[in-house]
């Protein structure tokens, strides 16, 4: 068990730190959370800056440890988050890189890495959430095109995306075709005729995600990644990637927030409350351990040379709940301010409510742990 970094890894860290110290002061101010075009421009400009400095592909680095260091250092330095580039860099990109043809990689990956094109993820449907494989958006062949009709929901960043990684049903479910056969992965250009995007307002008041309606949208067959009806397997590649180092920066941010909460509580007198102090103490142990779990999972991935295994479910389960507890504690520190939307922690507390739902609910994560790690019989 070794928690020290190699010389090469430390060099990478030092170089990154020096570079961040140089570029971050020159960044323009952050756009308002409601200004979507502004946010897109800001996020893609940052990706371009990373690209020009040789960090454009860092999320795909073969070394999970370097990815960890990158996310740790950028968060510590207060650098912009991956933002609107999330789906491209962490879902669609890795899928195309591993499952796409040479032509497809050439078409889609460079613009993604330069921050020229933004992707969104069209997986969930009104009737297919946790049970994703029951999705019903239909696609049928017409010459060199697929014609797609149906609707997607909860599509983050749909309003500003150029492309959508879309799951469609190409073969209807029948006695011979179980639901997770029959699914195909398509790259959908968001400016195609027949697409309607209707923003959905979140409980935080923002418009993070949208409904996407597809009415006989034509998608070239050349935009299919993987074989027809093989989209479920292609998708699993994407999903396992997501559960790797996805939360590194956030754990770092949560640990910083703990310090901020302690400072604020000492300043406003709430520190005198032993229940609050003890709660903060316990959360500090919790997030210290979550950081160690991240290092543990990354080390495991480094050893197996592949994507992290089911350890990601263990992490996500605990992390998403700890993060919500952290913001409940922030509310105690704020006191009356907990009801004031002008307090950033109040708004962040609202956002944290999505953590136990998005990217696989806590119940689904527990099913995964029970069945795939513990080997319990399939649930009912």
């Amino acid at each position: 068990m070794d928690l020290t970094y190699t010389e090469e890894e430390e060099d990478f860290r030092a170089g990154l730190r020096a570079w961040l110290a140089e570029v971050l002061p020159k960044l323009p101010g952050k756009p308002s959370p409601d200004d979507w075009p502004g946010r897109r421009a800001y996020d893609t400009a940052w990706q371009r800056t990373l690209y020009d400095a040789g960090y454009g592909e860092v999320h795909w680095d073969a070394s999970p440890t370097r990815r960890l260091i990158f996310l740790e250092e950028t968060e510590k330095a207060g650098a912009p988050y991956v933002g609107a580039n999330f789906v491209g860099l962490l879902h669609a990109g890795p899928t195309i890189a591993s499952e796409g043809t040479a032509e497809q990689r050439e078409r889609w990956l460079p613009p993604m890495l330069r921050g020229d094109e933004v992707w969104c993820q069209g997986f969930s449907e009104p009737d297919a959430g946790s049970d994703l494989a029951s999705l019903r958006t239909r696609a049928w062949r017409d010459g060199d095109d697929y014609v797609v009709s149906g609707s997607k929901i909860w599509t983050s960043h749909a309003e500003v995306a150029d492309w959508c990684e879309l799951l469609v049903r190409t073969t209807p479910v029948s006695a011979d075709v179980p639901k997770h056969r029959g699914i195909t992965w398509l790259a959908l250009p968001m400016d195609a005729a027949g697409i309607t995007v209707r923003p959905l307002r979140t409980l935080a008041g923002s418009a993070e995600f949208a409904e996407v309606f597809l009415d006989e949208v034509r998608v070239p067959v050349a935009n299919r990644v993987g074989a027809e009806n093989d989209g479920w397997r292609v998708t699993m590649v994407t999903l396992s990637f997501e559960r790797g180092t996805a939360f590194v920066g956030e754990v770092v941010a949560c640990r910083r927030l703990l310090g901020d909460l302690a400072r604020a509580a000492r300043a406003n007198g709430r520190w005198d409350d032993p229940v609050l102090r003890r709660g903060l103490g316990r959360l500090s142990a919790e997030f210290a351990a979550l950081w160690r779990l991240t290092q543990w999972n990354v080390s495991e991935a480094q050893r197996t040379g592949g994507v992290p295994g089911v350890g990601g479910s263990v992490f996500k389960l605990r992390y998403s709940h700890a993060r919500q507890e952290l913001y409940d504690t922030a509310a105690q520190v704020l006191g009356p301010g907990a009801l004031d939307l002008d307090e950033p922690w109040t708004r962040e507390r609202l956002s944290s409510l999505s953590y136990t739902i998005a990217a696989g609910t806590s119940q689904i994560q527990r099913n995964i742990v029970a069945e795939r790690i513990l080997g319990l019989p399939k649930g009912r």
């Binding site: 068990m1 070794d2 928690l3 020290t4 970094y5 190699t6 890894e9 440890t65 960890l68 703990l258 310090g259 909460l261 302690a262 032993p274 102090r277 003890r278 709660g279 903060l280 103490g281 316990r282 500090s284 142990a285 919790e286 210290a288 351990a289 979550l290 160690r292 779990l293 290092q295 543990w296 990354v298 080390s299 495991e300 480094q302 050893r303 350890g311 263990v314 389960l317 605990r318 119940q363 994560q365 527990r366 099913n367 742990v369 029970a370 069945e371 790690i373 513990l374 080997g375 319990l376 019989p377 399939k378 649930g379 009912r380």
Partner: protein, 297 residues
């Protein structure tokens, strides 16, 4: 960075598990429950196997390993519910003659208690005026020590190690072993026990109980291992909080998963729960640990 057990550590763990399960398997555990007394033969056998001398330098007759290996050893001890003041004896190796060989049984005052006071050969710390109580754990006799006036650092006292970060961490490692074990017992039972025409492990309510147990044990594991690698006292305090929580709550959930069987004397579940309670009560409680962590924020 390679935060995973290396080959030697895996081998050590396998070896220790063989020794402990061989010397103190389920039959031995139940025999000890029926006739509780400190088994000096077992103690010497552990000494012969190098258990207490794991961290002594080789030129002092030890194995010359570090805190991470010690933690693996105590995790295994926690799995089998090894009775007796193993942590105090381990930490006294090299200081108290015969401790490293398992010939001298050393106990120490830990917080408001001193375990195994009457059976131990050497007692570290101020046990004056200690009063026996009827211990909840059939395998850990307890005495209460009178509250002393505060003053001085506990670590400066003889036997202060029993309150120190290494003792805290080794007890946390025992808690981890117990938490992992009760998780396994629950899963085993859920696979075997049939109701409504199939194993109860197919019910999601039972599955989620088991999943949460694994999550608790795995979080405690990385916390304990990392604190052993860094040797940071505050990290040990944090690890202790998570490990206490994992051991106590996993034992409770394990009991629940066992149904009526879990409430019997015959089942081992209560032994895990009671020991977990005792360990969590030794050497300052959760409040103290949480305050220490908060103060450092």
């Amino acid at each position: 960075m390679d935060f995973q057990l290396d080959e030697d550590q895996r081998a050590l763990r396998r070896g220790l598990r063989d020794v402990l399960e061989g010397r103190f398997g389920r039959d031995a555990l139940r025999a000890a429950v029926d006739a509780p007394r400190l088994d000096r033969e077992l103690w010497r056998a552990l000494g012969d196997a190098g258990f207490f001398a794991l961290c002594l330098p080789e030129d002092a007759g030890g194995v010359g390993l570090g805190l991470p290996e010690a933690v693996l050893a105590f995790e295994e001890a926690g799995r089998v519910l090894l009775p007796g003041p193993a942590v105090a004896t381990f930490l006294a190796a090299g200081e108290v003659a015969g401790a490293a060989e398992g010939k001298t049984v050393v106990t120490a005052v830990a917080g408001p208690f001193v375990p195994c006071l009457e059976e131990a050969d050497v007692v570290l710390g101020d046990a004056a005026g200690a009063v026996a109580l009827r211990s909840v754990d059939p395998l850990t006799p307890l005495h209460r020590v009178p509250e002393r006036a505060p003053g001085g650092d506990a670590r400066d006292l003889p036997g202060g190690e029993a309150q120190g970060p290494r003792a805290v961490l080794l007890r946390a490692a025992e808690q981890l072993g117990s938490a992992a074990r009760t998780g396994e017992l629950a899963v085993q039972h859920a696979r075997q026990r049939e109701q409504f025409g199939g194993p109860v492990g197919r019910f999601q309510a039972v599955q989620h109980l088991c999943a949460d147990m694994l999550v608790r044990a795995e979080l405690a594991r990385v916390a304990v291992y990392a604190a052993a690698v860094t040797g940071d006292p505050l990290e040990a305090v944090g690890a202790r909080l998570l490990a206490d929580d994992a051991a106590v709550r996993n034992a409770r959930d394990c009991l629940q998963a066992h149904g009526g069987m879990g409430f019997t004397w015959e089942s081992d579940v209560h032994l895990h729960l009671k020991r977990a309670w005792v360990r969590a009560g030794l050497g300052g409680g959760a409040a103290e640990a949480e305050e220490a962590l908060a103060a450092a924020l």
